[in-house]
């Protein structure tokens, strides 16, 4: 009984703190992955709308950011409404994003010359409201700027997705610097799912949840985005499946 009363007091206090922080409304709006193992790790049971999320690739992916961009595209595809995609390097090949369920009529690209303009465009788009998601491909994301983006997202409830990609692999330790983003993910490529015949199966990723506000870090082995932008859990590399088969083309 005493325990229950204490819980009641604590939960009441929590509510009041949330009210003061102005986060009560935000946490209710989340985009679940539909995978309990991942959703349980995130406060509210999914990726929060009205927040900034950061993605980067691991290994060679720090430079091309291909997996991180596709992961972000899959999330954007599952939101509703228009998506604004800000970038400086126009090497994104849209047919791949269309295969992850992002229809071209939903995406507006903003190509700018300078890195700072990406940040300004993202902030403008986040503050505009009524968009599904705002994606930006960035090299640097300083603390102050990330807080501005986070606040703009909180105000309108639009999801901000920052895809970090660096010019050199050695610059990627910048990803350890703190930012105001709500979650931080690293997506690294893994060997694809084995097929009974020769060929390349569904791509797999090693998904690291490196940082999450009010939550704990976690790591997952997942299958890459399918035609509707969803990922699924996939067995890890430790089960010996990958080592068993010799490449059919190496002999």
């Amino acid at each position: 009984m005493a325990q229950g009363a204490a819980n009641l007091v604590i939960s009441e206090l929590r509510e009041r703190i949330q009210h003061l922080e102005g986060t009560a409304k935000r946490l209710k709006h989340v985009l679940p992955f539909g995978i309990p193992d991942i959703d349980n790790r995130l406060p509210g049971g999914g990726l929060a709308f009205g927040a900034l999320h950061e993605f980067a690739g691991g290994g060679a992916g720090t430079v091309d950011g291909a997996a991180a961009a596709l992961f972000a595209a899959g999330i954007a595809a599952r939101t509703k409404g228009q998506v604004v995609w800000c970038l400086t390097r126009p090497d994104l090949f849209f047919p791949a994003l269309a295969q992850a369920g992002l229809h071209p009529k939903r995406v507006i690209f903003v190509e700018v010359d300078r890195e700072e303009d990406v940040l300004a465009s993202m902030e403008e788009a986040l503050a505009y409201g009524g968009l599904g998601a705002v994606v930006g491909e960035l090299v640097r994301l300083p603390m102050t700027t990330s807080r501005r983006l986070q606040l703009a997202a909180e105000k309108t409830g639009t999801m901000g997705l920052a895809v970090r990609r660096w010019r050199r692999q050695t610059e990627a330790n910048d990803y350890g610097q703190p930012t105001a983003a709500t979650t931080r993910w690293r997506v690294s490529v893994l060997p694809s799912e084995a097929l009974p015949v020769s060929g390349v199966g569904r791509a797999r990723w090693f998904l690291e949840l490196m940082r999450v506000k009010a939550g704990e870090c976690a790591e997952f082995f997942v299958g890459a985005c399918d035609a509707t932008g969803r990922i699924n859990l996939s067995p890890g590399p430790g089960n010996g499946q990958d080592q068993a088969g010799r490449s059919v083309y190496s002999g």
């Binding site: 290994g59 060679a60 091309d64 950011g65 291909a66 997996a67 961009a69 596709l70 992961f71 595209a73 509703k80 409404g81 228009q82 604004v84 126009p90 090497d91 994104l92 090949f93 849209f94 047919p95 791949a96 994003l97 269309a98 295969q99 229809h103 071209p104 009529k105 995406v107 507006i108 690209f109 903003v110 190509e111 700018v112 303009d117 465009s121 403008e124 788009a125 505009y128 409201g129 009524g130 968009l131 997506v187 690294s188 490529v189 893994l190 060997p191 694809s192 020769s198 060929g199 390349v200 199966g201 791509a203 797999r204 990723w205 890459a224 985005c225 490449s247 083309y249 190496s250």
Partner: protein, 445 residues
């Protein structure tokens, strides 16, 4: 050349009498068209030219170079030839457009003197008699004349030479008096005391926008291009042009477009008058919106597109093109355009496509096996898994050289899981179809 002599050279030459009045009227029509199209401050540069102040307006055409070539191409489309020059001052642009034997001339900022010093004296906009007299004295170019001491020249020819030279080199301001028609919707506000603070400018711009929207409302019009013209105490003008992707009559939307750029206004000694002109308008009817019980209404993003566009960013959507060649399968379309189609292929496509395929070394069994290993950017990658080939044929209807060209695309996966999109030029048998060299073209997620 005399008409009789010309007729003697060309048989059946058609002669038309000069009609200066009609020429002037046509030039004025052309000037009004340019006002709506290119710049807020446009005037007739009689008898044979148009002068425009394009500062702060060229971004709507994609920059100076694109604007200038665009103008020339538009005239060429009507079987007319135009000469266009961009320079720091009216005088320099006038001279360069007429004297330089090229269709387009862009004089970089601060290089006026180098550009005009070799041009003949007749480009100085002086009376014909003065030019003749100067020639008699041995002057040929503007550079020679500008190197002379002023006093003797002024004593002999009056102050006109000095004034034109100063105007050309930007030492003396030469405001352009813009052409106007009664149809233009214009609201203005004059100030008894010059204003200069950004907050004050913002406030009055807001009020002008409200007035302009009221005017537009009465006429049932929406604005596509609007100019804010700032007249300063020292007689100079500055103009800011904002364009919208579709007709607009919304106070908040238009105010945002101008306030976004008030920092570009240099008040100098103060602003005497602010004028807001709707130079390009289109009919905009009020629409009744049906209210639905279910809320699946997508918000209109055109105002956001306009904000980006007026900052000079490239805003676009992508649409599919029916082509098997990857780099040709995507096209950029305007952000306001509507497109419902998507790519129909079921083969996986890479997230990043290299602008130029990167040459690699590959060890592969010909003709249709994927490589066993490749070397890209100095790193060797052993191929664990691969898929392919996907054959893409050259589009002979685009280029003759592609008649027999073939590319065989493969997806290859390395030991660490890195997936690349590579192709071989040629079908592996017939050297006529390609060089059989290998390239990386894309990176998969």
């Amino acid at each position: 050349m005399a008409a009789a002599k010309a007729q003697a050279i060309f048989h059946g030459l058609m002669l038309v009498d000069a009609d200066p009045a009609a020429d002037a009227a046509a030039l004025e029509r052309l000037t009004l068209w340019a006002l709506g199209q290119y710049s807020p401050i446009v005037a007739v540069d009689a008898p044979d030219g148009i002068v425009m102040d394009t500062e702060g307006a060229d971004h709507l055409q994609g920059g100076e170079t694109l604007m200038v070539t665009g103008i020339v191409n538009r005239f060429r489309g009507r079987m007319l030839s135009a000469r266009v020059a961009v320079a720091d001052t009216w005088g320099a642009a006038h001279a360069c457009a007429r004297a330089v034997q090229r269709e387009t001339v862009i004089v970089p900022a601060g290089e006026t003197e180098r550009a005009v010093e070799g041009l003949p004296l007749s480009m100085l906009r002086l009376p014909a008699k003065t030019v003749d007299d100067l020639r008699m004295l041995g002057f040929k170019t503007i550079g020679e004349l500008s190197a002379q001491p002023r006093a003797p020249l002024a004593l002999r020819f009056g102050p006109e030479i000095g004034r034109r030279l100063d105007q050309m080199f930007g030492r003396l301001a030469e405001p352009i008096d813009p052409i106007r028609t009664p149809e233009l919707i214009e609201v203005s506000r004059a100030f008894a005391e010059p204003i200069g603070a950004p907050e004050t400018i913002d406030k009055y711009v807001g009020r002008l926008v409200v007035q302009l929207v009221e005017e537009l409302q009465r006429k049932g019009l929406g604005v596509r291009r609007a100019d804010l013209i700032v007249e300063k105490v020292d007689g100079t003008r500055q103009a800011i042009r904002a364009g919208t992707a579709k007709p607009a009559r919304d106070v908040a939307w238009l105010t945002k477009l101008f306030r976004d750029r008030t920092e570009k206004i240099e008040p100098g000694f103060g602003i005497e008058k602010l004028t807001l002109v709707a130079v390009m308008t289109e009919a905009l009817e009020d629409l009744q919106k049906s209210s639905a019980l279910v809320e699946d209404e997508t918000s209109d993003v055109t105002p956001l597109v306009d904000i980006f566009g007026n900052r000079g960013h490239r805003v676009f959507r992508v649409a599919p093109v029916f082509s098997d060649v990857p780099e040709r399968s995507v096209q950029r379309i305007a952000a306001a355009a509507v497109n419902d189609e998507t790519w129909a292929n079921h083969w996986p496509r890479p997230v990043r496509l290299l602008a130029r395929p990167d040459r690699i070394e590959a060890i592969a069994l010909m003709p249709d096996h994927p490589p066993a290993s490749i070397t890209w950017r100095g790193r060797r990658m052993k191929v664990k898994r691969a898929d392919g080939p996907e054959r893409v044929f050259g589009e002979w209807w685009k280029r003759d050289a592609e008649l027999e060209a073939v590319r065989d695309y493969f997806i290859v996966e390395g030991e660490g899981g890195e997936r690349l999109w590579i192709f071989r030029q040629g079908d592996g048998v017939d050297p006529g179809t390609g060089s059989h060299r290998w390239f990386v073209h894309g990176i998969f997620a």
